[in-house]
Each structure stands twice: as C-alpha cells, then as structure tokens.
Symmetry: C2
Subunit: 564 residues, 2 copies
C-alpha cells in the first residue's frame, strides 16, 4: 500500500481542520502542517474577547474542547499529525512536488515531498501607507502576539486614549475590548458609514449606538501618525484634525497571502485570493487552497468574493481534507457571506445581499422593508431588533437580511441564512414553523412578521418610505403631511419633531376630517415600529387619500436626530 503524503501550509484554522480531516480519512497517510507562527489552531476570532477580559486564561484560545492545548505534542499524540512551527515555507516546487522551508529559529533549511499540498496561508492585515506607520504604539489585532500586546495594555491600565482605524468587524470588536479596559476610544472610518455589509440606514443606527461608547468619525482617513521619540502621540486625519493618543489599532481589512501561490503560477482572482473550484482545488490538481487566502463564490450572485470568515475556513478545510485523500468527492458550494459581530450590547449582522450589494451586482428588481419589534414579549423582557429584508420582487425570493439591536440577532440571521440556503420566497417564510414559547420569541416571530410586512408591500397593500428617503424629501423642502399615530403619552416621551401632527390610531376614524392634506398629496404615517402606522395608512386609503406612505421601521429605525 502506498502511503499518501499530505502537506499543509498554515496552522491557524483551515489548515489544522484539513489536516485532521485527512488523518481521519486515512490513518496511514503522512500528514504534516508547516506553520510560520509559534502557535497552532488559535481561536483568532476570540482575540478581541481575550483583550476585553471576557476570560483571562490565554491558553483557552489554543485549547481543544476537552481543555488540552493544541500544541505539536497534541497534534502528534491525538492525531498523528506532524507539525513544524516557527517554520516558513520559502518555495513550492510543483514539478517535483516538494516544499522548501526554513526554520525561523535556527535558520535551518529543509524540504518535504508531497502527494497533495494544501495552502492555508491566511491573510495579512492591510496597513495604511502613511508617514509614521512604524511608530511604537501602532498595532493590528491579527496575531496571538497582537492579542498579547493589547491584553497587556488593557491589564496595565496606563494608556488612556486610543484610536481605532477601520469601522469593520474587527475594528468595532477592538473598540469594545479597549472600552472595557477603560480606554477612551476614537473610531475612524474612511467611508461614510461603519460596517459596510449594512445599508446606510442600518449602519447609522449602529453608529448612533456606538457613539454612546466611543467617538466615531466617518468620512475621514489617516493622513499621518505623529510621534515623539519613536512613540505614537497622535493620529492626524485627512481633514487636519489631530487626535492625541498613545495607541492606534489598525483594522482596515486583510489581504490574502498569495506570494507562494503566485510564484508557481496558481491562478489569482479579481479579489486577490487564490482561485479554487468547488473541491477547493487550484489550477494545479495536486494543490488545494483553503481559508483566508482563497477567493470564494457568492452563491447568490455567482460572483467571486473574498470572505475571510473563521467558519468558512473550517468548512473549506474539511472539504479539502477529504478530497486530498479520496479524490474530489465533496464540494464547498460557496458563501452567502453571513456575518455577525457583537457591538457592545448590540448584535449586528447580515446574510445574503444588502440593497447596496445587490445593486452593485446588477440585481435591480429588488424590494426592501424594515421591521422593528421586540425579540420576545414585553412581559418576558423582550429586546428590540431591527431587520432590513431584501427580496427579488419578481420571484419574491429572499436575497438578504440585515439585523441589528440588543435582541437575539444571531437567531434571526441564522433563520434568514437558512431561508436563503433553501431558496425560499417571502410567501414560504410567511408561514414558517419556528419554535415559539414566550421565553424565546413572539407568537409571530420577528422574522415571520418581517416576511408579512414584505408580503403586504409586494401585494400593494401599502407603500413604504425609508427614513433617509423621507429626510431627503424634507430637506429638499417638499411639502408632506406628517402623521404620528401613537398615543399622547408616547409622544410626550419620544418624538421626531419634524412637523408631524399627532392623531392616535384609536381616534383616526373619527378625526379623519382634521387631516388638512389634499387627497392626492403625500401623507407619511408612523408609530413606534409602524404597525399602527400601517393600519392608519389603510384607513386613510379607504377614505380616499391616494398617496399615503408608511415610515418603515417607525421611530425606532429613524437614524437621524430627534426632537426627543
């Protein structure tokens, strides 16, 4: 029997998963991981929580579920996988099927033959090419060393001010971690919004919330890092503002590590990642690639994307690990780019396409709605969630959902991710059979209610208007009859204050004569979340008003300043 030689370059997430799966598929194969870093199988998504003090034992980032550190000894004893750490692969000889490596400690060089090679070289943090980038006090949060560095800062408690550059997932998670250490944070984002996987309105709502914890500056980039004696003292922005700080964390995305792949002519895609097929195989049939260094397919658009998510890395690793042993038997279908992050006490995430992303991919026949409601009944201390749903308005197929708020966002995203996976329509979702009991959800789950609103909109039962649309109309001076239909006590506590009239829904029918709008002029109705706004619109329509729109998501989804 011939013994298969499997070599895996990279020992963080995808690599060890592939190596372990290959071992399980073939007890006799020789499986080797070559890893540049000192550690193996780091739970790198856990770094922000280690820095933030959610737990104190660093080894927990490196442990198996049974609490054993996944070091070289563990991999050998439990999995018969050889691991060479602190070892860099310097070249791949694809003709002779050999990798060349060098020990980063001893400088010793070596070679290792392979039958099948798996590249899992990951991605590196992008760094802005601006003056001062070399100053002490500037870091990323990508490696175990970065995590150690920031945790020490957090424990020492000496640093008072920090700037986080980049308003994506890692940037925001880092904000939370440093905020918990009592550090005053300024968050800088070059684009007009945080979290670009969200549409603008949703991102604004998140930004309003983050601003209660940190200074947030959007539409501005870093001009230079300024320092004294080699140490960071402030960050200078493109608009000239200087922000004093002793620490800057750069989190402006990652770049796939493809140097080795490029050198041997593996195809690199438009996103900068290694091109692989559904089997995770590159254009060299003996070389597979997985994890943050590859380009994936977005299942909805069919277009290539770079999706550096820890869960996908693991799934891809499992696929490659089986295929290098059994031949190309199992497929990785691609991604719908489901992501979630904890933003202080908010969950924030998206799955499938945002409106922005749909349009960018040439998908124009879409409809959207926003729904705001509690995640479970008020008497069970339900918490607010806001969902924006995106569907194909011809086929009524679900294309994407964004969910934010202090409520159970993760479950909502999982539901929508599965709906997209199952190619379900809004009408399928409208009668989904989800687990209901008061400790867990409303009788009509938030996701199902969102589908109901979308059905009502697609069926023409109401017309919606988004907060930014309404704001733009008001800013342009358009005359609109604005109608808040809540109760006076609610109005007293919180209101938009944009010129609205208050007529509670319960008085709408008898006070309809008070509405001083032409039958054909625009009326916009709302309440707290806009269920009552919808009912008011129906009454107005039945009374001959022809141009009534409901403010989607009501006051809870209004991302601009309010009177109260």
């Amino acid at each position: 029997m011939e013994i298969k030689k499997i070599v895996v370059i990279g020992g963080s997430a995808a690599g060890p998963k592939a190596a372990s799966k290959a071992r399980r598929m073939d007890e006799n194969a020789e499986v080797t991981i070559i890893q540049k870093a000192a550690d193996l199988s780091m739970a790198s998504c856990g770094f922000p929580y280690y820095v933030g003090g959610f737990f104190d034992d660093r080894d927990q980032l490196l442990c198996s579920p049974a609490g054993v550190v996944r070091d070289s000894k563990f991999f050998w004893n439990a999995k018969k996988i050889e691991t060479k750490v602190k070892t860099e692969v310097t070249a791949i000889d694809k003709v002779n099927k050999v990798v060349e490596f060098v020990s980063m400690e001893s400088g010793e060089k070596g070679e290792m033959p392979y039958d099948k090679l798996i590249i899992a070289t990951g991605a590196s943090p992008r760094k802005p090419a601006v003056p001062g980038i070399e100053l002490e006090g500037i870091t990323t949060l990508q490696s175990m060393q970065d995590a150690d560095f920031l945790r020490k800062i957090s424990d020492d408690g000496e640093i008072k001010k920090a700037v986080v550059i980049g308003g994506g997932l890692i940037g925001i998670e880092t904000c939370e971690a440093l905020h918990l250490a009592g550090i005053e944070i300024t968050l800088i984002e070059m684009l007009p919004q945080l979290l670009t996987f969200l549409d603008l309105q949703m991102a604004k709502i998140v930004q309003n919330y983050v601003q209660t914890k940190a200074n947030v500056i959007v539409n501005n980039g870093v001009e230079a890092f300024l320092g004294e004696n080699g140490k960071l003292t402030s960050v200078k922005l493109k608009n000239g503002t200087e922000i004093p700080c002793e620490l800057a964390v750069v989190a402006i995305g990652v770049v796939p590590n493809t140097k080795l792949a490029k050198e041997i002519g593996l195809n690199i895609g438009v996103t900068g990642g290694i091109v692989v097929d559904e089997y995770m195989q590159t254009n060299d049939p003996d070389i597979y690639a997985i994890g943050d260094c590859v380009e994936s397919k977005n299942i909805i658009t069919g277009n290539p994307v770079h999706a550096p998510y820890g869960d996908l890395a693991n799934l891809q690793g499992r696929v490659a690990g089986e295929n290098v042993i059994h031949g190309n038997k199992v497929k990785f279908p691609g991604t719908i780019q489901t992501g979630i992050c904890k933003v202080f006490d908010y969950g924030v995430g998206a799955t499938g396409l945002s409106k922005k992303n749909a349009l960018r991919n040439g998908i124009n026949n879409i409809e959207t709605v926003i729904n705001a409601s509690l995640d479970k009944p008020g008497f069970m201390q339900g918490k607010l969630m806001i969902t924006k749903l995106v569907v194909n308005k011809d086929t009524r197929t679900i294309l994407g959902a964004q969910v934010i708020g202090p409520g159970d966002v993760s479950k909502q995203l999982a539901i929508w991710a599965m709906a997209i996976k199952g190619k379900l329509t809004v009408d399928d979702m409208a009668n989904a059979d989800l687990p209901y009991a008061p400790p867990y959800s409303l009788a009509i789950d938030h996701s199902i209610a969102t589908a109901h609103i979308m059905q009502n909109k697609l069926n023409g039962y109401f017309s919606g208007i988004s907060a930014p649309e309404l704001k733009a109309k008001l800013d342009s001076g358009e005359k609109i009859y604005l109608l808040d239909v809540r109760n006076p006590d609610e109005f007293e506590v919180m209101r938009l204050g944009i010129g609205e009239v208050l007529i509670p829904l319960g008085q709408m029918r008898r006070r309809i004569g008070e509405i001083s709008a032409d039958k054909n002029s625009l009326i916009v109705t709302w309440c707290k979340i806009s269920l009552r706004g919808y009912e008011a619109a129906l009454i107005l329509q039945a009374n001959g008003f022809t141009n009534v729109k409901v403010l989607e998501g009501g006051i809870m989804s209004w991302p601009f300043s309010r009177e109260k």
Copy 2:
C-alpha cells in the same frame, strides 16, 4: 358597495388575528368577535410565566406591544372591530347564515347574520374521569381564571405541596412556575417518558434534570383524588401510592372545541379537530376554522395532526382573515410541529419528526445521530446542547431534530425548522453559512457539526450505538469491550463505570496492543461528547478491528445512572 359581514367565534389568539387581518383587508366590512370569556387576545402561552412571577402586572398578558389593554374599547377604536365578550354562541344556522348567541351575564339572546363565519373556538383541557375530580384544589392552567388562581396561590405562599399531572409542555412549565413559588412538586406522567415529542433517550436526559427540581413519576396514572371536607388532600396513583398535596394541576392535553361545528355537519377529522383545507375553509364554503379547534396537516408525512400552538393559531388567523375578504387567495401549508419549552434552565424542543414519530408514520428508511457540544466556545461560557437528528437515509433529507440543554436551543431548532422547510439534505447543511462570532456560536455551529456527524455515519465512516442500545446489550449480558478515551483527570471526575477501560486518545496508537478484544468482537468507544470516541474508532478500524461502534453523544448523552 355591499358591506361584508364577518363574524368570528372566539377571541383568544386566532380569532382576533383573523378579525384584525380582515379589517385591514377591508375598511368597510363589519367585523365582529363573539367571545365566551371575559378577556380578549390573552397571551395564554404566558400564563406559566405570570404564575411563576417572571412579571407581576396581569394586564401585560392582555396588552398590545404599545402597552394598551386589548379590551372591547381598544378593538373598536383601533380596529373598528365589534366584540361581544362573555357571550356564548349557542347555534349556527348555516342555511340562513346567522349565529345565535346568549349573553352569559344577562341571559339575553341575540342573532347576528354573517357573510363569512370564522370558527376559532379553541380547545379545552382534558380532565381525567376519576373519583374526586370535583374537589377544591384541582385546576388546569388554560384560562385567565386558572392563571389568576395559581398566581394567588403562588403569592399567598400557604400551599406547600402540589402534584402536576401530565409531563407535556404545559405540565412542565407549570412545574417550573410552582417550583419558583417554593412549592414542592410531584410530576406524574402516565407514559414511560416526559415530553412525548422527544425520543426516549432525549426525554430521559430531560427527566434526569427535572428530577433535580421536582419528584418525577412516570409510567403511572391517577386512580383518584382524595379529599376532606371537599378539599384535596392527596392524589392516589394507579399503583396505590398516595401523594399528599393541597393542589393538583391537570395538564394532560386538550380537546378541540367542536360542538358547534359538529351540530351543523362540518367535517371532523381523525384527531378530533375540524377539517379545513389550505385556505382554512371548512366543508361549508362560507365557514372557515382556525386555531386549536382545527386539524392541521403535517407537511412531512401528509398526515393530519392536532397542533394546538399559539404561533400556528396566529398564522392561520392571518390566512383566514385575508381569504374571507379576498376569496381564497392565501394558503396555510401545514405544520412541521416545531415546539419548544423552557424547563427551568433548559431549553427543550423538537421540529419535524422524531424517530418514534417517523416509524409510527411508516417512514422506516431513517438514520439518526446524537451530537453533544457547547453552543459557543468554552472561553465565552458556552453551554451544553444535545441534538438528535433524524434523516431519510436514502435521500439524505432532514426529517427532524430534537434539541435539549442549557445552551441556545431555540436558535438550533429554528435552524432545523428552516432546513426542513427548505427540504435540505444533510449535505446541504454540512456547508450551511451561519452567523459565526465567539459570543454566538462555535466556529462550526452545533447544527453543522451535527450534520457532519450524520454525513460520516451515512458515508460509512463510523458505526454508532445509542445509549439505550448499549444499555440493553449490557443488561442482556453481551460481552463488549468498552473503551473510554478521555484523559485520566476527566475520568476521575465523571465516568460511566460500566466496566470500561481507559485509554486516552493521545495514547491510543501506542497502546493499541493492550486491547484485549478479538478483531471481530464488539468494541464501543466514547469520550465526553464522542468526537474523540470517533477518532479512536477510526484508529481501531485502521488496525483491523472490524466491529467498532461509537457511543453517540458520549457521556453527556448517557441517560442512565453513572458511577460518578
């Protein structure tokens, strides 16, 4: 324009939903709800939490999300729906399309004509026909009055011992509510297990947990209620045991209220519910029926079921409400019987078919696995969940899942419910794209890992054995080589103690010679959750052992007593 007359019999959940939807579909219709009880739109699923003191304001059970009590005034003002409460419909004249009713307060009789009638008469608690059932101190938890009665008992704090009869959802929720009031509970179930929607092993694990909070007696029914001076003093069981108590709550299921429907010859199904089609229409085209009084279709089996769930009642109400106005336009597709309940700090639920239920419906080509893992990483204080997955082993389609444990069970059930809705296979689920971040899930979500285990089993990579199967073999004296592959420190803290040998996975390869079993005799391997048990089995198989089985779900899913 002719004005439609819509009459709805029943004002709890389905009825008001249908009436409200009908109103929204037609501002001019005359919509009336006739309700026997005093209250409207009660959140009856919230009763146990009111009794248990999760909240104190009774009105919260009757409130709209904006905090307004949904009384007759609310229905009229906000929805222009007339409501007649404390009014019983005594007959339906389907020829002349009139309902006859009587005021339960004044005794006054009346009639109301309808164009379309919606029957939402609900279900009544089943009561055991045994001596003493009329004694004071015996109640159900079905009505607002029941909730008030039990809440008062809970507040008064005088009752020390109670018996709950029935180990279904309501019975167990009632246990928790009364336990929180400091009452000593005995839970009686006639069948061999609690929660019959679970397979036996899963139910046993739940029972083990409930037994830490209450006395649980299965396989035993009530022979009689015994009392003194008309007051309950004890419950006598079929085996002669007498359990002293001052309170008994009967929760042995509900019976559809179909008296009116039967009197006018509406079709009644095998489950005792009113037969309706996908439009929620009965065999009288002008009469619809919804909620707990109807029979639904199980989407997977196609067979009729009685599914008295609050969420389905609402969805059915919405469908009927639209159809009575627009004609039969929208459909209710049926149910997969997704249910969940809070059992103290456990979530317990199921969706789709259990193994038992599949077999009962003649679906024999099934495979099952059990997976136990944390819901999120240990460093994020992950909590245990145990899932039993049921699939069609030919098509690999997902048929059902049961999930229990202190972890995030609700999200898992929602995922599986959506997988079933989308007709997904195990292989689809194996690469699902779910929201991952450490505060919310493992890198490979518990549901996906469950699919992976099922794939491995269906692909023949391992053979599993369930705990009850192993126990039965051991009890029958079969000679089995039992192998725990955890670490010695884990073994010291907790172990089955059924004659097992301990060889840690990390020592397996070099100590394989110690295994004193024939190559063809049965070896069963396990660890805490059985990932390591699986890896050990693969090593044994590679070394020529031909009959190795993995104990599914490991020690965490062992429902019998352990040595430690």
